[in-house]
Amino acid sequence: MSHQNPLGTSVPHTSCLDLWREKNDQLVRQAKVAQDSGLSLRRQQLAQDSLEGFRGLLHSLRGLPAAVPVLPLELTVTCNFITLRASLAQGFTEDQAQDIQQGLERVLETQKKLGPRLECGLRGLWDSVLHYSTLLLEVLPALHHLAGLQAAVWLSTDCLGDLTFLLQTLNGNQSEASENLLLLLKTWSPPAEESDAPLTLQDARGLRDILLTASAYRQGLQELITGSLPRALSSLQEAASGLCSRPVLVQVYTALGTCLRKMGNPQRALLYLAAALKGGSTCGPPLLEASRLYRQLGNTAAELESLELLVEALNVTHSFEAPQLLIEVELLLPRPHPASPLHCGTPSQAKYLLASRCLQVGRAEDAAEHYLDLLALVLDGSESKFFPPPSPPGPCMPEVFLEAAAALIQAGRAQDALTVCEELLSRTSSLLPKMPQLREDARKGTKESPHCPSWVSATYLLQGQAWVQLGAPKEAISEFSRCLELLFRTTPKDEEQGPASNREKGCISDVVLQQLRAAALISRGLQWVAVDQDTKALQDFLLSVQMCPGNQDASFHLLQTLRRMDRRHEATALWWRLKAQTELPQENAAWSLPLYLETYLDWIHSPDREALLEEFQTSLPEPHEL
């Protein structure tokens, strides 16, 4: 190299500036080599080395007083350093803001204007720097590049006010009236870099395009969540037309699908979802969105099919793609939130969704299989792959067990249901209150009762039902009795403490407790009926009507029993009450019951209510005869 040549008068003199420039270009080339390198480790090492190189170079440059001829190079090196650092860290931090601030201070240093501006923060710095930059034309391209990075930092940290201000200043305040970020970004045209400028990892125009896409997408997503759908649609379409990578495009299309679905355009939504599915490897969100769409359309088969596909898709481990060593749209997007429409969860969460949908729509066999698969996935410890439980936001694990048992009973696999229930009880036995003590307390009549999770009584309930199905009323009655024993000790708990912690501890709302008690009483009553113990059955049905006056099933069962026992007066009185109730408009249940309980309540639904009422009416004497 020339600088090693002592007194090389024949060699053209190379200045320090040229050396530094050469170093910058070499580091940029090295980073690009790293980018293209396939081996992740080698890539990481090379990129890290480049980063250190840039850091050292920046250190050398800042060792000298700031001077206008050196500024373009210094700012370019700063930009490269920030770009590489942010892309290696996969995000922007406070460090980048500080790097930018130092760069700006160096610019002001050349103008001897440093000092009072410092307290204005980055915004004030930019204001003054851009004010002087009209005097420093040669610095302008690099400054615009740095401004692009600043915009990226502010976009990723949601400082939209600062960002708007910066863009307005960059655009020379021509469109001062405009607050529209997208418009501002579009009007911003960074000056073209000269051909002999030092190399950059990413030029300002490329950065501008990335910023445009990212802000359009962010804006669209935000509008989608807040519900301003037409604006969301236009923002998202803007993002889709912009420059972005395939995974981002899939997200944008999915968001467009969601938006159109909510706007009542299912066909257009489907088109976008199909486009998204063609787009790339990450097809979870579009599949989930498709299932929602089909559910809205009432196409259960298609809905379940998309859910099955979703489960499969999520099970495929997509290869880990190394991110580009550039500022990309992904870096500027908000972190996915579970509440976001694009959140598709984990395979087990998808599996749970599929299973519960099957149970809800009445595909009991499928539901049972899916539940068993899910339990196997989640519980199998020896499997090297972990599948997290669906919770949260789904139900807690005991409820998944209960739903599985319900599905199995529904599918006619009572023995399997018993196994599932036993597994649940055995796995949680250590957490349950000590049963001997419980009995003791009951005998003593101790007021304070131990807290027993609601799912324990629900398990006994389901076990009883399984025995019913197996034709063993004795066992069934004993299970129902255990269930009732627990249920009558349980006091409903406030849900104010937070639903998550309550669910975790098996706390139970008033409504659910009532329904559970009614269900258990009706089930036991039915079993008494089955073993011809009408008196006991009558007791249980009466009690259940008292417990839960709104539950018409209890009343119907009571009516039937009364009729069978030939207690006409009581039956008639009950019939009048029922008739009045059924004539009233059925109020929609504002509360939601756990899926297993809903399923259960279907089982004890008296099948032929209308017929019973009609039949009773004919046999009924006229009211005036009473």
Binding site: F320, P336, S384, R427
Partner: protein, 870 residues
């Protein structure tokens, strides 16, 4: 605690940094016959217990922070500081690392008996500079990385055996928030002082699960406690749970199976992370012990108590309990151990071994004696039993038999690997009930012992202070002695000047001397210094039997700083006989008393018989001080002459006043009126006795040279001479101001003395013309006064001549014949004096008067011609 006496066996020494190993980073792992040791450096050593030798040494590119072994594929995972995690198979055959001969880099280490295998820096399994710790759970790798404002837990899948050593991708991630930011706003994150602690907890389940090997950092927990702590879901799923103890004191957990998240949805910390407790000091250890042994349930040997240790000694235990209604409730308890806790390990039966900076200790949490440290109360102090092994920085329990030996593997600060074998008999650990009774007494004894020691300490400290002070004083005394004894020319830095004055404190006039001690040196005369003034009365010829009496005054010099002066006034006479015996010799000296300075420092040693004391009584010299002479003055009659005639009427300056007259004389005198003659012996003598006269002639040249600058100031030589003679007299100022050449003064005994100085030219003596001389004439009516004044003048001239002898080139030319004549006549006169004196002794009363008259006459003749000094 005799049963806890450990038997320590040193296995191997490892290189360690100069200050010793710091806790936190070194690790020992002993999964089987081989022991893996990392002593905080870049090396991981494999020590074969069987062969008792180093089997292999792996050299990593950065200091090793953490070691873990995964049992199933048998891989060693190593976290290197600021690099990432390396993974290698510790089996030397299947290793694909390049092998050095190890000769170049190990010269300082001596010859390692085994090969040093350096690990390729590029062979990193998980490069991440922010990683702080990790653990291996089955085939999952859980890492904890430090971010700018949070800790990040990440879950990776480990490579399967046979696959390329590369991670198969991240499975899940969640962030742990912290209260304070981990790094400053600028710069790279610094190495944390405390590393976080990560461990994996699994529920104790069916035996099938037991065989499933965990990483080396995991343990099982009894199911009730597990479900209680981590929830029913974790319990149902039988999911391992990752416990994180963070340096800010948080103890939080993440259910591992819930951590699996897709790439698009990182974990929601609120749903995934549960904070169990906050220790409020860095968590250094998380473990579990079994505290309750149920006789009927011997099968269940799983720990039922989670233990977390903070660096400063905070202990948190969590157990599952049943409340009054039979519901499971967590029992959190806090204790305190004497900290700081460097490392710890859990043993069987509730034993927690931990090492503080001073000792390896064991505390048994299963003991009855453990106080109930319920939350809300201040944490109660646990009393660990010391094991007598010090400075252990990392610890591992090798083997433990319920009723037998315990073997601990430990690495000391000095880098020594050792095994400690403890004999644990059942009743030994913890204070027993009988011992508890005596504990009170023991504590009392200990407290009184502490009291004694602290008393002794304070007295020793005082002694040291005193000695230091004494040494400082001695040093100053040395310096003072040096400058006073150096005998340099010029004025001494510490000087003493003497002036005399007459004062009349009572009816009698008293001659007082004022010594002024001036410290113009930079030193300080402190305690121990005293000014000694010695007044020596010359034995007068009249009472030869009275020995010359010396009086010494000692005045302590209390803190005479640089530039300070101190004045001391002493009476010189007249003594009890009413006679002032002149001349007096006054000598001043500084005395430094060693006894006063050093004696104080010796005091405490006399009360104790400490061998530390090096002061012995015989060290002090007999002469207990240093004496530094400052000055010596002879106070003669010229000092004490008073000149009433010179005093202005209105001044009462005592130096100029006449001597005090007898009040009766004054009274009578005033009665007789102005016409009467003055009475009193002096005036009578003056009236009836002709005044005696003595003259001394001094060569003017000699005087001029001696008086020097005093003469050159325009003063006539006679005046200057008189001023010189009266230099010490209080009347000097008046004499100088009036340019007197003759004064009439009063001697101390009341006789008047007339001093006259005039310049005369001697024509007969000079060989080359008349000789310029100064004639000093002393005239007094009292022969005694005359004699003493004459003597004083001659004494001064003598001293002057001695001083000037060297400087004057030589005597002027004299007529020797004339001198010889004078000399011979003086000799005859002296002979006559001798004979007259002899006659005085033998003659009777009648002829005595005549002889005396004659003697006086001869003396007068002797004085004339007067003494001539040239």
């Amino acid at each position: 605690m005799a049963g806890l006496e450990p038997r320590v066996e040193y296995l191997e020494s490892f290189r360690c940094p100069l200050g010793g190993l710091a806790a936190g980073r070194p690790r020992v792992l002993c999964p089987g016959p081989a022991v893996f040791v990392s002593a905080g450096s870049e090396r991981v050593s494999v020590y074969a217990q069987g062969g008792r030798l180093l089997a292999a040494v792996y050299c990593f590119p950065a200091p090793v922070w953490q070691l873990e072994l995964s049992a199933v594929p048998g891989l060693l995972y190593v976290l290197c500081a600021r690099r990432g995690i390396y993974c290698l198979s510790p089996d030397p055959e299947s290793r694909s690392m390049n092998q050095d001969d190890g000769s170049d880099q190990d010269s300082e280490d001596g010859e390692p008996p085994c090969a040093v295998i350096s690990v390729d820096p590029d062979a990193c399994l998980l490069p991440d500079a922010a990683l702080c710790t990790f653990t291996v759970v089955a085939d999952k790798l859980v890492t904890l990385a430090q971010g700018p404002a949070h800790w990040k837990v990440q879950l990776f899948e480990c490579p399967r055996p046979g696959e390329d050593a590369r991670l198969r991708g991240q499975v899940g991630e969640v962030e742990l928030s912290i209260s304070s930011p981990l790094t400053g706003p600028l710069g790279e994150p610094t190495a944390p002082r405390f590393l976080p602690v990560l461990c994996c907890v699994s529920p104790a389940g069916p035996t099938a699960l037991h065989s499933r090997a965990q990483g080396s950092g995991g343990f099982w927990l009894e199911r009730a406690l597990f479900g209680l702590l981590f929830g029913v879901d974790a319990s149902l799923l039988e999911s391992p749970v990752i416990l994180c103890g963070l340096p800010d004191g948080q103890l939080c957990c993440v259910v591992l199976k819930t951590l699996v998240t897709s790439k698009l949805s990182p974990g929601n910390p609120k749903a995934l992370v549960k904070i169990l407790h906050h220790l409020e000091e860095p968590v250094v250890f998380i473990g579990a012990v079994k505290t309750e042994s149920l006789a009927q349930d011997v099968e269940d040997t799983h720990p039922d108590c989670l233990v977390a240790l903070g660096h400063d000694g905070q202990v948190l235990t969590i157990k599952a309990g049943w409340d009054g209604a039979g519901t499971l409730v967590p029992e959190l308890r806090e204790y305190r151990l004497p900290g700081p806790v460097l490392c710890a390990a859990c043993g069987g039966g509730g034993r927690v071994y931990h090492s503080t900076t001073s000792e390896l200790c064991v505390v048994d949490l299963a003991q009855e004696g453990v106080p109930s440290g319920d939350l809300g109360d201040p944490p109660s102090l646990l009393c660990p039993a010391g094991l007598g092994v010090c400075s252990v920085v990392t610890l591992s329990v090798l083997s433990e038999v319920p009723e037998g030996d315990v073997r601990l593997l430990a690495l000391s600060t000095r880098g020594r690997l050792m095994t400690c074998r403890l004999q644990l008999s059942s009743e030994v650990p913890g204070p027993t009930r009988a011992a508890a009774a005596s504990t009170g007494q023991k504590i009392k004894d200990l407290l009184s012992g502490i009291g004694t020691v602290s008393e002794r300490l304070s007295s020793l400290r005082k002694a040291v202070d005193q000695r230091n002070k004494a040494l400082t004083c001695l040093n100053e005394a040395m310096n003072v002695s040096c400058i006073l004894l150096s005998g340099r020319e010029g004025p001494r830095p510490i000087s003493c000047t003497l002036t005399t004055a007459w004062s009349r404190p009572q009816l009698q006039d008293v001659l007082t001397a004022t010594c002024q001690l001036e410290n113009s040196s930079g030193l300080r005369l402190d305690r121990g210094w005293a000014l000694c003034v010695r007044v020596l009365t010359s034995a007068s010829a009249s009472d030869a039997d009275v020995a010359s009496a010396a009086t010494t005054y000692t005045i302590p010099v209390d803190r005479l700083g640089p530039g300070d002066r101190r004045e001391v006034t002493l009476p010189l006479g007249p003594g009890e006989d009413g006679v002032l015996h002149l001349p007096l010799t006054v000598s001043c000296a500084l005395h430094y008393s060693l006894r006063e300075v050093v004696g104080g420092a010796r005091a405490p040693s006399e009360s104790s018989t400490d061998s530390l004391d090096e002061f012995r009584p015989d060290i002090l010299p007999e002469q207990d001080g240093i004496c530094l002479p400052l000055c010596e003055h002879t106070v003669d009659v010229l000092w004490c002459l008073r000149f009433p005639g010179l005093a202005p009427a209105h001044t009462q300056a005592p130096g100029l006043l006449g001597p005090l007259c007898d009040p009766v004389d004054t009274f009578l005198g005033s009665l007789l009126g102005p016409r009467s003659e003055p009475t009193g012996p002096a005036s009578l003598r003056a009236k009836f006795l002709p005044p005696s006269v003595a003259t001394i002639k001094v060569s003017a040249e000699l005087l001029r040279a001696a008086l020097g600058d005093r003469h050159s100031a325009g003063t006539p030589l006679d005046c200057a001479t008189l001023q010189w003679l009266l230099a010490e007299n209080a009347a000097l100022d008046v004499v100088r101001a009036r340019q007197l050449s003759s004064v009439q003064g009063v001697a101390p005994d009341g006789a008047d003395v007339h001093l006259t100085v005039r310049e005369v030219a001697m024509t007969d003596l000079g060989a080359a013309g008349p000789l310029q001389t100064v004639e000093i004439q002393v005239e007094s009516s009292s022969p005694a006064s005359l004699c003493s004044a004459h003597h004083a003048v001659i004494g001064r001239l003598q001293r002057m001549v001695v001083e000037q002898a060297a400087r004057i080139p030589g005597p002027p030319d004299l007529r020797v014949q004339c001198l010889q004549q004078t000399h011979s006549s003086h000799e005859t006169l002296l002979r006559e004096v001798q004979t007259l004196r002899d006659r005085l002794c033998t003659e009777d009363e009648a002829s005595l008067h005549a002889t005396a008259q004659r003697l006086l006459q001869v003396h007068r003749q002797l004085r004339s011609p007067s003494l001539l000094l040239v």
